[in-house]
Homo-oligomer: 160 residues x 3
Amino acid sequence: MGFVPLFGCRCGLEDRYTHIMKSHRKVLEFHLRSRMGFVNITPQVREALRESGIREGLCLVNSMHITSSVFINDDEPGLLEDYGRWLEKLAPFDPSPERYHHNRTGEDNGDAHHKRQVMGREVVVAVTRGQLDFGTWEQIFYGEFDGNRRKRVLVKIIGE
Amino acid sequence: MGFVPLFGCRCGLEDRYTHIMKSHRKVLEFHLRSRMGFVNITPQVREALRESGIREGLCLVNSMHITSSVFINDDEPGLLEDYGRWLEKLAPFDPSPERYHHNRTGEDNGDAHHKRQVMGREVVVAVTRGQLDFGTWEQIFYGEFDGNRRKRVLVKIIGE
Amino acid sequence: MGFVPLFGCRCGLEDRYTHIMKSHRKVLEFHLRSRMGFVNITPQVREALRESGIREGLCLVNSMHITSSVFINDDEPGLLEDYGRWLEKLAPFDPSPERYHHNRTGEDNGDAHHKRQVMGREVVVAVTRGQLDFGTWEQIFYGEFDGNRRKRVLVKIIGE
């Protein structure tokens, strides 16, 4: 008595050890040398997941800025061009404060706040057996709509 | 023998106590006196997080209605005006059943269901060290597109 | 000594048992006999939740494809027609590679990649007391924009 033998807490605790909630946080940084652009960030998110050691859970990836997006689609250059032209039609760049009252603040990025709403702020990806649980063509993109400066993306993974 | 001394289960259990999964649920209520409008709900979500005691996890904030949105963007009055005019262009208010067949049901809010799809239903925010893990300008908004009645937003936080 | 009596690990472990993180994964399959279409998948997601035994947590439902969506809105046939016509206006079907450079790859589904961005890839739903924590009219839809083939939706639930 006086101490519990090592195997003393084994009555099911190994199972539990595998069910302890873990979390992992990583910030990715980008600096695009253009106003608009798209970067496939799937490798960086995979690396963050590997570091986390999490096998089952959810992985949130979000832009920490309000003029850029994180979204999932195909890594095909023609499609990314298409998105650029389409977003320019839906919410054209216009530094004047007439079209975008937001530009009365001295900013010229009113359009970028609108483009970001179409493409979204974040994605949540399932984590299964330690992998991003993706269909064949799913790739995670950072979409920049007001570049030429340093921007950040947050990866937060919770699970076991 | 016969019982295990109190410290007997301490072989790592303190650590585990800090890894127990918790969840917290809160419903926020709104009643906007206009058809369309935006409310910064970041303080209410922060308060819900504080109540939860959760330090690491994910915070889901979603509209419980199908004619309103929860989204993250800048708290700048000109931008919110811009969103209003832009959404009116993408999906104009029109109570007739010609433009929106949905209005054949007797409703006049077909436009609101479309505006909500552009702005989104929900956001998922990382929780880190007990705080909403936000970039500098990120603020959570409730976007109303069919107001003049009571509406609800759900906050659900899971983590440890 | 030599073994720990059964009650030996009861010092609070029952509580912990109820807080062990669980996860559940299910893939739903669809084959729409039309290019565009909407399917209410709420019953299938409810069934997955029931199977999981999870009482408190988050439920991710996402398309595993990049030309279809999962979204939450009203199950009203007029509204679904409205969405179809509206998306056709925002991103018209056009198999030529002039409008959508993506179609230079030999695909004809450039429009579908755009429609999917408007309607979204995924929803995250709160799980409370073993139920989808929904407002009155919330229903989960699969939105197909490039049908006539087998497609998959992932349901991933984490919680306790």
